[in-house]
Symmetry: D2
Subunit: 354 residues, 4 copies
Amino acid sequence: MSDLRIGIVGVGAMGADHAERIVRRISGARLVAVSDPDTARAEELAVRLSGGGPAGGSAAAGAGAAGGAVRVIGDPLELVGAREVDAVILASPGFAHAEQLFACLEHGKPVLCEKPLTMDAASSLQVVEAEHKLGKPLIQVGFMRRFDPEYAALKQLLDSGELGRPLLLHNVHRNKANGPGFRSEMIVRDSMVHEVDVARWLFGSEISRITVHAPKPTGAVPDGVLDPQFAVFELANGAMADVEVFVNFQVGYEVRCEAVAERGSATIGLGSGVVTRAAGHWGGAVPEDFRVRFDLAYDIEVQRWIDAVGRGEIDGPSAWDGYAAAAVCEAGIASLNSGQPVAVDLADRRTVLG
Amino acid sequence: MSDLRIGIVGVGAMGADHAERIVRRISGARLVAVSDPDTARAEELAVRLSGGGPAGGSAAAGAGAAGGAVRVIGDPLELVGAREVDAVILASPGFAHAEQLFACLEHGKPVLCEKPLTMDAASSLQVVEAEHKLGKPLIQVGFMRRFDPEYAALKQLLDSGELGRPLLLHNVHRNKANGPGFRSEMIVRDSMVHEVDVARWLFGSEISRITVHAPKPTGAVPDGVLDPQFAVFELANGAMADVEVFVNFQVGYEVRCEAVAERGSATIGLGSGVVTRAAGHWGGAVPEDFRVRFDLAYDIEVQRWIDAVGRGEIDGPSAWDGYAAAAVCEAGIASLNSGQPVAVDLADRRTVLG
Amino acid sequence: MSDLRIGIVGVGAMGADHAERIVRRISGARLVAVSDPDTARAEELAVRLSGGGPAGGSAAAGAGAAGGAVRVIGDPLELVGAREVDAVILASPGFAHAEQLFACLEHGKPVLCEKPLTMDAASSLQVVEAEHKLGKPLIQVGFMRRFDPEYAALKQLLDSGELGRPLLLHNVHRNKANGPGFRSEMIVRDSMVHEVDVARWLFGSEISRITVHAPKPTGAVPDGVLDPQFAVFELANGAMADVEVFVNFQVGYEVRCEAVAERGSATIGLGSGVVTRAAGHWGGAVPEDFRVRFDLAYDIEVQRWIDAVGRGEIDGPSAWDGYAAAAVCEAGIASLNSGQPVAVDLADRRTVLG
Amino acid sequence: MSDLRIGIVGVGAMGADHAERIVRRISGARLVAVSDPDTARAEELAVRLSGGGPAGGSAAAGAGAAGGAVRVIGDPLELVGAREVDAVILASPGFAHAEQLFACLEHGKPVLCEKPLTMDAASSLQVVEAEHKLGKPLIQVGFMRRFDPEYAALKQLLDSGELGRPLLLHNVHRNKANGPGFRSEMIVRDSMVHEVDVARWLFGSEISRITVHAPKPTGAVPDGVLDPQFAVFELANGAMADVEVFVNFQVGYEVRCEAVAERGSATIGLGSGVVTRAAGHWGGAVPEDFRVRFDLAYDIEVQRWIDAVGRGEIDGPSAWDGYAAAAVCEAGIASLNSGQPVAVDLADRRTVLG
């Protein structure tokens, strides 16, 4: 049987996660190569996941670990072009994506590209057009929320029409604290971008206008940093979405979403798990970070991508979805800076894709 | 790389589930053989999961499916002894387990045995002793709840000592409706047995006495059938557990558990997921059956078993746990019939296992 | 307009609560007299609630306080017989109730008697018989849970038949810590007695047998004290109830109840109120004591009692309910001491009440 | 003792509710007069609540009902000026308030005025100035949410500073369906006005700018009606609030609110009560209308108003609060019509009130 042979570009936190995933929990795929500017990190990972040794030695993986030799390739473009690599996961920094995506297209390699597709709408559109010329979809973008069982159930419920036409979407997206070098636009580009994809996907419509408000910031950020932010999306089909992004919430990670339709509403992200009564309180833990909440979504996303590649398809957000998200985020950053609503500058889909 | 080659005995609902699991979602294992008295069903499954044809033809699985040829073997004991089978999953009816387990022990094959270990305490004890003679653990019993993330979190919380010593455990175990040929003792032997294992595991103590009460039954069962039942377990370490089992609850599947300790309580199984407001009500769906609730637990259980076999170990309930559960259920059925508390007749562990 | 003139016997915590209630929040009643062995406390209360001075001075209550002169009467029996007292609230210690109830009956004074009716089944039965001779109901017993909006809603739902016949009742009753001089039987007589009344009321049936188990106690109590306790009630109509009473739960006050019927279950006491996300947790506060949970129930109970007295009726638990509760608790204490199930010794209702 | 003698202007649904409240559940007040253009309705109410007959006959109220003769007065201004009326509740239509409020001020009668204070900011300001001239507060405005135990607890939590500075407030306000003659501005003026008061009160700041968005409306309303609406409030202190008002939600009445602060968030309005498992679902009932949710708030509001009048004070929203709400709603309606954010035109408080 031929497991799909995967190469991963970038083995920081996200890439390393994907590597572990492929080796330990995914069916039908093998990790064969990794690449990272930090060669030491790449080699450490390769050794750990080979169950024997890095490239060059044949390492028999112990039963239960779909490992084997994992080759460390210094040049990511060489990894993309390598014969032994059937498909690629891009977990490199956003600024490297454009070049690496074009390489994947050139070599006809299916690729799961962690968001963002590229750093800006213009280059994202170029990627879309380049893929379109090939005549088959090779790019899937890593908006993993679509694979979270709760988001999937919500989508299914809305599509069933049982609640009528969806009218509004209320979103809350909170992190415990930001990392170093945090800047206000990151809220839009790195966090809010998930709600952009969710809104487009749940409503089945493009976002035509966005307003990003910034209330007086929390005292937990340095002067000049705007956190939290509150955005309003106006969609082309008349629906609306609002999003609170609060990166320094101090409490933990929380992603919640309520869809309001003509005959009812549906909420996800309420959490649950173990409910404790202790020390004068009842309730549960708020997770530290996104992993607890979305680990399963990533597993499902990657498994389904691998299954789809086997069928010659993609099974998730397309390059167009990545481009549209970039276009909305550009407008969002403009709104954040101007304090005004900003129309989204998006190419006409039928013109681009036919 | 050597995937563990699995043979499955019994491809009814549970066995077929495991087969799908191995082929589509589990890392490091391959399905190589199935056996079932219903040959047609076994062959249909083998074809479906081979991605080509049954044994005899070489079938290349598409990428993403760890399939390959799946051989149908008429005689389960022949499957157990087959050279190409590294490890066995027993999903056959309980009455067949004893013979099949002895065969696994004889051939030194690691085996994941769906509960019950065997049909009665005496033969279960024989299996325990036989395995003990071999000097290494080969048998893991399929009490999957231990792998449910909520049960696992509860166990971790209790073990941490944060809430003090556990004192009581309240359990609720409900099904929508029973299948055909349902008899009152099945509630104890097939349903309550899960709470028996959970109580022993969470409290770290044997159950010394059990009372199974039967209130006036629901009108949904024929005369003479006792449903629901309400049991009280008294544990050797002084703790207690109570269990409501209601097989014809009419509503859906529900498994809930509250542990009460010296400084607090913790509850799991409260459900969540999508919370809807519609038609004058707020709330969510109660799942139809156990699959929604425990699919993930089975995936984790099987993945960890496979990983453990690779290390020459087990990683879950042992044959002793299967024997203890059988002993408690025998006492439970006696209590159900007599209306009295009944002491559990359990061999001394140190005597049996050294 | 003639407000009902109330006299309160016993102004400890409960009696003082009722006094405040009458003066500040109840419509159609006035507090005219109080009695307590602790004369200083009675006088302080009388002054505080008179809005001027105690008996002897004419005190005009300010608008908004249905006060007026509140007379302190040293002898509770004199208060019961006083002309200016239309109706009596007994909030004295249980051992004083029998004598004070007989006095109320003798003077034809309607009385709201805080539980217990009396200290034992025998004297309770005598009270029931004495009232029966009068030919009209004068005694209402203070099982306030029947007036809690959640219990009332539960009762209404079960009576509607929408869920079918009620089969089981799971109860949890927890306090933060016990007061001084705490003894094991108090759990049955003072705490569990509420669940006794609730079970009889919700199921509409007498309790025929009770088993009170005591697991190994929490380390928070001195040697010899049994806390928590876990009881099983078997009802005459075939239904069953179970009750965990845990007086030193350390966490706070919690009263929860789940009724299980043929086609569904209903739970109350889950709490709610403000749900906070802070310090890594989500959830709410567990109240310190019963007041937060049942303050409103007491208000409703007293208002409805006063309204009923105006109609010459009672509107809540009767003397028989008080007697039945005493009978069950006596059996419960016997079970706690013997470790065996104990049948409830209850007179035949039709014989006693005709 | 002198109960406060209350006259109610307007006995439609709200006024009749208040009448019942005074007679049956409020301490320290008596209903003495009602007025309504619908004389038949006023008389029916007067008879029902007199417990005997209307004005002219001496009606002894039964014990438990603080009734007595209730006089029907045709002219509301005559009621306001009547000697036997100590304080007034205005539950007349909004357009009648200005005249009736000036009458109350002229006669020095304390008045609880159901919202809106008046129909527009200008006349509201006149009322504020007129009251200010008198030198004592006579007017309390009926924004009852401040008295809802959950809103009160939320206020207390935010004021404690435990969660840090409040930054955002998310509000949801849904009704099942609108009444006849419904127009889009009613959403702002009659529904959203509650969130206006809540936001000002919880944040302790004026609202400086408002944007009212209207997504494509629900199909449940006639063409031209905009429902739901989604508003964004920008407060003077830098905080922000958002409000979804959806009058034809089809499901029932729901008012929910989440305050987000620097170190946590707090949510109210999640409901609870009886949680049922039946027919494949778990959950509870969504109330039909506002009464279930806010009946208690009204009781507390009126009781505290009456207590405060007795002290020569008010204890709730002032005339200024009514004026500020009117100013924000005027800006809100302008925004709804223009599609633009609109600054709130509010007089300077220190200038007006000194």
